[in-house]
């Protein structure tokens, strides 16, 4: 079986050529950073989570199966770290009596920026990021992977650990929920 270029680099790293791991980091750092950012809306947290993704991947590199996509494997690690982070955040917010999952809650750094810069950012994204942050985590993951990270449905399914039809269902439900939020309909019943 012909091995992917990523798998060959992994082989080299496992054989002791640690510096070649930087090639994998360089190749995928933007995707991991953006995935973490789009799930947390906090650039510092996104940096920590995405860097931790590569560190965890390195520590567990011997568990990577060369017949699978290294890229999808990284996505799975990054999503798991992000889920743990968001779970901890939800617990902290609920302890404090705050409602979780609002844009300001998930993006505390926004409060430190000037109102003008926040307005510019919101205008730039047309409220889309705000609406995305209001999606349930399970649906947000699916939508972000498909339309922001532009993974094919098969990769979305593999990353989420669900069947292809379940991945499509999540994406559709996420899109529909997002459309309703942006239209000012708030939460809508699942179709």
């Amino acid at each position: 079986m012909e091995r992917s270029e990523d798998a060959l680099v992994v082989e080299a790293v496992l054989a002791g050529d640690r510096e070649r791991y930087a090639r994998l980091v360089d190749r995928y750092k933007k995707q991991m950073y953006n995935l973490a950012y789009r799930m947390t809306w906090n650039s510092e947290v996104a940096r920590d989570l995405s860097q931790e993704t590569f560190v965890r991947a390195y520590a567990n590199l011997h568990r990577y199966r060369p017949d699978k996509s290294f890229f999808n494997w990284l996505y799975t690690i990054c999503l798991n770290l992000t889920r743990n982070h968001l779970e901890k955040k939800r617990e902290l917010l609920s302890e404090d009596g705050n409602a979780p999952d609002t844009w300001a809650d998930t993006n505390p750094s926004a409060e430190q920026r000037s109102p003008e810069s926040q307005m510019i950012e919101r205008q730039a994204t047309n409220g889309l990021e705000t609406a995305l942050s209001a999606l349930p985590e399970e649906l947000r993951e699916a939508v972000v992977l498909r339309y922001l990270q532009e993974l094919p449905f098969e990769a979305v399914a593999e990353t989420l650990g669900v069947s292809l039809s379940a991945a499509k269902m999540r994406v559709y439900r996420g899109l529909e929920r997002l459309r309703a939020i942006l239209a000012g309909e708030g939460e809508v019943d699942e179709i």
């Binding site: 980091v25 798991n80 743990n84 047309n126 889309l128 339309y147 994406v171 559709y172 899109l175």
Partner: protein
């Protein structure tokens, strides 16, 4: 389930992956259902907007930061052995070398047997190098607490995995954990609430108005926190 079919066809149509026949059936279905037509147009516009969202640039020192951290990671000997045994590697043998190696093995065995006869003892076992680990003692004082855990980056923040015990019944909760060299963040999880370690030497803002304690292992042999 017609709606499931239609929803799936909408996703395929957005991606432009419907075949000619499928596209005609889909167009007909939308023509028969104006609400579905409106929904489809809204979803098309929405996915277009999402695809136009700008990507963020990662920090310039991103790769350096990762490589600095992985340079501290040393795989345990059994993992390295497993890697060696399970991964493909090139082995070159020539006849002369093989004969020399076989002779060396025979000679080693002969010398070993001779030594055993002379001394009547077994040779010392060959020990592989084991990665250094730190035995960390976590302690938390609270006589009122009923359940105390420690959670952090060392266990993916699983809050009810590592339980501390108050064996003396005096409110001093203790747990010992083997940790590899590295930098960790942690908090205590006390009766369903996250609690900072007030005695940590360093902290990091967790982004939610609280501070994770920082534990840096790489110097010293046995620390207590």
């Amino acid at each position: 389930m017609k709606s499931d079919w239609l929803n799936e066809q909408m996703l395929a149509a957005i991606d432009g992956t419907l075949s000619g026949t499928e596209q005609r059936r889909f167009d007909q279905a939308l023509a028969d259902d104006p609400a579905a037509q409106a929904r489809f147009e809204a979803l098309c516009a929405l996915t277009e907007r999402m695809r136009e969202l700008p990507t963020r640039d990662e920090p310039l020192d991103f790769t350096d930061g990762v490589m600095a951290r992985v340079s501290d990671i040393r795989r345990p000997w059994w993992v390295r052995l497993w890697i060696y045994l399970t991964r493909a590697h090139e082995v070159r043998v020539n006849l002369l070398g093989a004969l020399a190696a076989a002779a060396a093995v025979v000679a080693s065995v002969a010398v070993g047997v001779q030594l055993l006869r002379q001394e009547g003892t077994m040779p010392a076992p060959i020990t592989a190098e084991v990665q250094k680990e730190y035995l960390m003692r976590f302690s938390y004082n609270d006589p009122q607490a009923t359940q105390v855990y420690v959670a952090g980056s060392f266990n993916d923040w699983r809050k009810q995995q590592i339980q501390l015990t108050d064996s003396a019944g005096k409110g001093v909760w203790i747990g010992v954990l083997p940790l590899k060299p590295g930098i960790y963040e942690y908090m205590f999880y006390v009766d369903g609430h996250w609690v900072m370690d007030e005695h940590a030497q360093r902290y990091k803002d967790d982004g939610f108005g609280r501070k994770n304690a920082i534990l840096e292992l790489g110097t010293g042999d046995d620390l207590s926190i």
